[in-house]
Each structure stands twice: as C-alpha cells, then as structure tokens.
Symmetry: C2
Subunit: 466 residues, 2 copies
C-alpha cells in the first residue's frame, strides 16, 4: 500500500496570490493531500499573506490595535504547514500551453519559471485610482493593502491639519469616513452618485446621507473630482470638483476596485463583462481542466438575476478557496453563487443589502413591487429599541423575494441574513410571513422587522396580482 | 350595489380571549369587513387586552418602566375600531350545536348566551402550579398576567429580605432570574432537570448553567420541589426539595404553561396529545367549518419532525390571529407550522435554539450527526468580539439540517434565524456552507459562526456517508 502511494509521481500545485482565496485553497488542499502527494508553491508579490483587507478601516480608525492583528496566518505559519510560500515574488506570465508560470523576485529582480500540474489564480483586485492631476501625490491614500494602511497611519501622525476628504461613498468610503471621525478629523465625503452607498436604492441611500450628516460628516453628492490640489512639498491641499474645492490635509480614496486579471487576460483565459475570470461551479476556469480561480479576481453568479457580477469580498474569497482546495485535493465541492449580501456601518449607523435593487430588477427584466417599513430592533417598550427602515422588493405576480435593504442602528444589519437565506431558497414574500424567527422582547418586536416588510410586500403582491 | 350589500344578513363573529391571537384575529377581520357586514364580539375574563406577557420579566426587572407599556392596545382602542370587547367576562360554555357561547360577568356574576356565525377560540394557556404544600401562599408568584406582575412588584416593595428562589429553569425561569438579579436579589434557581433550559440539549444547557453561576446565581439542578415553607403571616420562608431547603423571601414560579382548553374539551372539540386544540392549516378547528383557534391554546405542526407540538409564544399567537382574521374576513391565509425557534437571555448571556434537539431527532426516528463549534460574534480582532458556542444537528446521509442551538454573548441569539429559514427551506448543511451571509468585521468573522458549524457538520455527514 505504502509503496504504491510513494511511487505515484508527486503533483505540483502552483498558487498565484497569497491572500484569502489563494491561501485558503492551498491550506485546504494540504489538509486533503500530504507533501508526499502534492507539492504546493504559492507566490505573493506583497509583504503579507492571508490578511484581512476588510479590517484596515478599523485599524486606521483605532478600533484594532495593530497591523499584525489583521494577519490571519503569516508566511512562516503557512510554510510550517508544508506550503512553499514565496513572498515578494510576482508572477509575470502564465504559460498555459507549457503548464508553467514565470515569477520575478520583486527585490532582486531575478526571474524563474515554475511548472505546475494544477494552477490556482487568486490575484485579487486592484483599487481604481482616478487619472487626475495630483492623484499620485503622497497625501492621497488607498486602503487596499496593509502597506497602504501603514502609509496612511504614518501620514496622519505627521499631519498637523485635521481635515480629511474621502473620495467615494461606497463601503470603503463610508468605513473610512468613520475611521477618520474616530481619529478626530473633520470629514468631507465627495461622491459621484446622487446619494452615498450606490449599492442601495437612492431612497435608502438618502437615509444614509442624512445619518452621516447627523454624525457631523459633510456630504457632497453628484460631485465629479477633477483634480487634487497639492502644495509645494507634495502634500495635499484640497480636492477639486467641477463645482468647488474642498480643503484637505489628507485624502483617502475609496472608489472601489476592479479584478486584477492582466495576467489571466494575457494568458488567454476567459474574462467576463466586469473584467473578472469566468469559472464553472467548481471554481475551475472555464475551458481549463487544471486551472482554478477564486476571490476578488473572478466573477460570480448572482442567483437572483442569473447574471455574473464582480463582488470583491473576503467572505466569498474564503469560500472560493475552500471549494478550490477541496477540488484540487481530490474531493468535490461547488460554489453555487451569491445573492449579493453586504453589511457595513458608519459609527452607529448600520447598512445592509441583499439581492436586487430596483435598477437591477429592471435590468434583469423583472417587474416588481416595493415596500418600505419602519420597525425596531427590540420590542418597542424594551430599552434601546432602535429604529430601522427595511425596504423589500418582490416579483410582481409570483411574489418571489427579490431583495432587501436595511438602514438602522444597532441590531439592524445582520437581519439581512434572513433575507439572504430566503433568496437562496427562492421563497415568496408570503412564505416569509410565516417564518419562525426568534422572538423575545430584548431581540425583536413580536413581528420581526423582516416579517413586517414581508407582510406589507405580500399585500402589495396580492393587490396587483390581477 | 349598495342595496344588495346592506340587505345581506350581518354575520356575527365571537372571539373568546382578548389577547394576542384573539384580538389580532378580530382586528384583521375588521380590516377586511366593516361593521355593516360583520359584527365582532370579544370576551376577555381579565382586566387587560392585547398585552405582552413576554415583557413581564423586563417590567419586574425594571427594564420597562410601567405596566401600560406592555399593553399594545387597550379595550377602548379596540372598541374604537368597531370591536365589541367585553372585559371581565368569562365564557363558561361553548354550545357548538347551537352556535352560541355562554358568558358570565366576573364581577356581577350575570350570565348570557351569545350566538355566533363564526367563532374564534383564543383562550391561551395557564401556568402549571405545583400541587404542593404552601404553593398557594401569597409569597409564591406566577408571572403570566399583568395582575401577576403587579402582585410580584408589590410583594418586592413590601419585602425586606433579599433572597429570591425561582422554581423552574426554562425561559420564564431564567428570565425571572435575571429580573430578580436586576432588582438586587440573591437568586437561587431550583430546577427539576439535569441542566437549565431543557429546550436545549444537556451539553448546551451545561453552558447556561455555568454562565448563570458566573452571574452569581445559585443553580440547583435535579431538584424536585416538595414543599414551600411559609411563616405565620403567610409569607414564604423557604423552598424545600427532596434534599434541602433554600431560604426565600419571595418565590417565583416559572415552570411552564399548558393549553387552556377546558372549554373546548367540554364542547367536544378535538384536542391533541399536549392538550391543545387541533386545527387545519387555515387555523380552523378540525372538523368544524365555522370555528377557528389560535395562540397558546392550540398545537402547531413542527415542520422538522412532522409532529404536533405546543409552543406558547406571542409571535406565533400574532401570526395565528393574522391568519384567522384573514380567513374569517373572507380572504385566504395559512399558518404552515413552526420549526421551534426560541431566543432568550439572562443578563448578557444569550440563548437560542431552533429545530430538533438530539432527543427530538431520536423520537422522530431520525439518525443524525452532531457538531459543536466555538466562534465569535465579530471578527476576532474587532473590539467586543464575543465568544459563542453553536451546536448543529444534521440528518445522517442526507445532510439535511435538523437543528441549531446557540449559547453566547451579545450578537449570538438572533443568528439562529438563519438556521430557522434554512430549516423551513429544508436545506442541507452543505448547502448552508455556501450561504451568502452578511460579512464585515464589526458584524461577523469572515466565516459566520453558522457557516463554521455548517462546514463541520458537512464534514461529519461526508465522513459517515458510506
């Protein structure tokens, strides 16, 4: 038995990218196959492995004490588990026909080809940096990597002024607004859209707008940043839009990311409309038997609209890695898709969404009913019962749940999970009215806010069922 | 058109019971049919209508300022909506063949028959009072009605001693333990079972036991109360068990309730094994075209085990009332059943359960895998990330989710809702591993605790699939 096992030629798995998806895949593959069966080589161009990019705003804001807390597993820990993780080593080419990758040591410049039997692409995403005068100033900060976070913290320590301008009002933008508030800055958020949080419908984004103003944040909507004004020593002075200039001692960019797929594109691998790699349900790159891809560099199936989307989020990346590692390791697992759940907060304001917005539903060719209700996180008579607004979309006639958005205070955001499961199960809003959700006065009104919304949506569907 | 409407003979709906189920039914029927079509007469033997019994522990404990906050709608408010609600009037007989009920004014003793076209039985539940020496002492308190709550508060104000003994360690027992702690009492909980919270498996109940001890509560398990010792002026002195005596200045009973169905039984209506009325999915009493029943006096279908259960809980009562009112009012609605979700807390300890315990699964003839995991409410590095323990049961071979139990701190309990929806949708634990639950560091680890449990349960199911 042992002989036949050791005599089998050892396979090599190459992983490009040392963060969530890549290292989850490597770790899971290692759990299923020992070093005598599978060699694992992983390349990471940065200084850190397996870190929580989602945690950077909380580190910058002071909620998290230090950078190392955001590192789930160091390179040494990966190596101790039998993964040959090569840091500061960037893959510069994938030779699909030859089954090999070329990697360059970022510090020495030395290049080397490494052959693979199986390849995992987990190259992540890169922040969109506006092509503007002044955008490359050292006073302009992204928050994508731990190095970015450290550079921002160093800048804050060195800056005397207390005015921060955050460009962008999506998740990163609002979280960075909170971080800068927590650091004692006067914060202005400059946003291209009509409201912050364009992942919500504008009526719900309006609630976020008002709440952020209530936190003392200056909200500038419908603003196109045209330039970043710098002073003589390279620091920033202001952010200029088509209409005005907003004085700034520090500028934070939170305008989103796009899939980092230049390597994959050059290798002729299939990309989707959003620039992400396209995979099958086992996270295998379409048309390629021995190449998998996961994390922020892939597109995922939206189970509600039936279309591909790009959703850079650590929780998906970890799931992808788990699925890939299982399949690479000889097991079987799939990633069926997403329903588009996201939660966030700005100070004590909680924001959540899942499924389709109105414009997504229209784009998918769906007719829908929409209802909006107000309710509370606890029984109305219980201390600290916090108001929340829940918007629900249901398909016209069938009543199938299409989406939920929530804006509220403590206890609001994670209620969206109920809707996420209901979307996955393709429940109707009427079915949802009977859901047996946990009730006790400290945890919910006798009708949970999700049930209140489902009841109202059911009434709307029935009214227009004719 | 108007003529034919007004010339139709007006129907009379009689409702027995003026609390959640009964008055929800009456209100919903009234929304659908005006007073010219439907006369509604409701009888309530107590002093209050539509109150939150679940809120009583928080009123007693001081979290809720006053009794009136627990009243959702007063008799006057119901009457203003066209419901002839007769307070302090107890129905003493249902004459099914004659289509009428006999009601007695509690104060005057006057009796009267009232005929009905449609009848709703919402007689609720009554607390189990042990048949013990001393159990009728004025120092022994139930907490079922607002009058009970007021009597307990009056007793606390009059009592100098600070020792409270709570008999029973189910939801009411643990909530009353918290209430008495909040009132500054030394609390002893005397419990017949091997652990508190017998709605959990004993291993999870053990965690509650330890946490309650950590709150300074004296926990006495495996204890059968044999007597309540009183002093000469009728006050309590101690609670006696088979083994010991526990000094007490006040005794609170939290040993559960049973369906209040004597009226229904006497009328020949069908009762189940737990003593509750049996209904169809439209909440109509089985075999009776014009009688509905809902709330704490009925048995409900457990969708996981396929068996009837008795679950007295305000949230079900409200849903029943809504369904009954819709059907009585000429619409159509059903109550498909429950999955057995319940949440509770003792100070900062949160407790939740849904679906089957191990013994429920065995009783239902199911083989199962069980896993238990520890995780946190937030990303591990985020402030106030609180530990929680999640136990998950899955059916052997099929992997279908059977139940989830959670014991933890802030942010633990309502996570059970995800499992409640998954149970309703008959998901497998493997399907659950892919659920798109909300992730951001302040709200969840990158793998939500429910997903961590689902992953481990999936592994257990796969391991034993052969």
């Amino acid at each position: 038995m042992n002989m036949s096992r050791t005599s089998r030629p050892r396979e090599r798995l190459v992983v490009i990218g040392g963060d969530a998806a890549g290292m989850s895949a490597a770790s899971q593959a290692r759990r299923l196959k020992g070093p005598d069966e599978l060699e694992i080589v992983a390349f990471e161009r940065g200084h850190f492995s397996s870190f929580s990019a989602c945690g950077i705003p909380y580190w910058v804001g002071g909620d998290v004490a230090g950078r190392d807390e955001l590192i789930a597993r160091t390179p040494e820990e990966h190596r101790a588990r039998g993964i040959d993780l090569r840091m500061r080593t960037e893959v510069t080419e994938i030779d699909v026909a030859g089954g090999r990758v070329r990697a360059r040591n970022v510090d020495s410049g030395a290049e080397e080809w490494t052959s693979y039997d199986k390849l995992v692409i987990a190259t992540g995403a890169r922040p969109i940096r506006p092509d503007l005068p002044g955008a490359d100033s050292p006073g302009v900060h992204g928050v994508q990597t731990l190095d970015d976070g450290q550079a921002l913290l160093d800048a804050l320590a060195a800056t005397k002024g207390r005015r921060a301008v955050v460009v962008g009002a999506g998740y990163i933008g609002v979280e960075m607004a909170e971080a800068m508030i927590n650091r004692g800055y006067e914060v202005t958020v400059v946003n291209r859209g009509s409201e912050p949080m364009s992942t919500l419908d504008p009526d719900m984004g309006r609630l976020v707008h008002r709440a952020m103003e209530g936190l003392g944040i200056t909200m500038v909507d419908n603003a196109e940043v045209t330039k970043i004004l710098t002073d003589d020593d390279g620091g920033v002075r202001a952010v200029g839009t088509q209409d005005a200039e907003y004085p700034a001692d520090v500028v934070v960019l939170g305008i989103g990311v796009q899939p980092e797929t230049a390597l994959a594109r050059d290798a002729g691998l299939p990309l989707g409309d959003h620039g992400g790699l396209l995979t099958d349900l086992a996270m295998r790159v379409r048309g390629h038997e021995n190449i998998w891809a996961g994390g922020d560099c892939v597109e995922v199936l939206d189970l509600v609209s039936g279309r591909e989307r790009h959703i850079p989020l650590g929780t998906h990346a970890n799931k992808h890695g788990q699925v890939i590692g299982t399949n690479v390791g000889g097991g079987y697992a799939t990633f069926p898709g997403v329903v588009g759940t996201a939660v966030s907060k700005v100070c004590d304001l909680e924001i959540a969404r899942t499924g389709l917005r109105e414009k997504d539903a229209r784009r998918a060719g769906l007719r829908y009913e929409t209802v909006t209700i107000e309710s509370t996180s606890r029984a109305g008579y219980y201390p600290n019962a916090a108001l929340m607004t829940v918007k629900m979309l249901a398909e016209r006639r069938t009543g199938r749940l299409l989406g939920v958005q929530i804006v509220g205070r403590e206890g609001a955001a994670k209620r969206v999970d109920v809707a996420a499961v209901a979307l996955t199960a393709r429940m109707t809003v009427e079915e949802m009215t009977a859901l047996d959700l946990g009730y006790a006065p400290p945890f919910s009104p006798v009708w949970d806010p999700i049930l209140v919304a489902a009841r109202k949506a059911t009434a709307a569907v029935r009214r227009n069922a004719g």
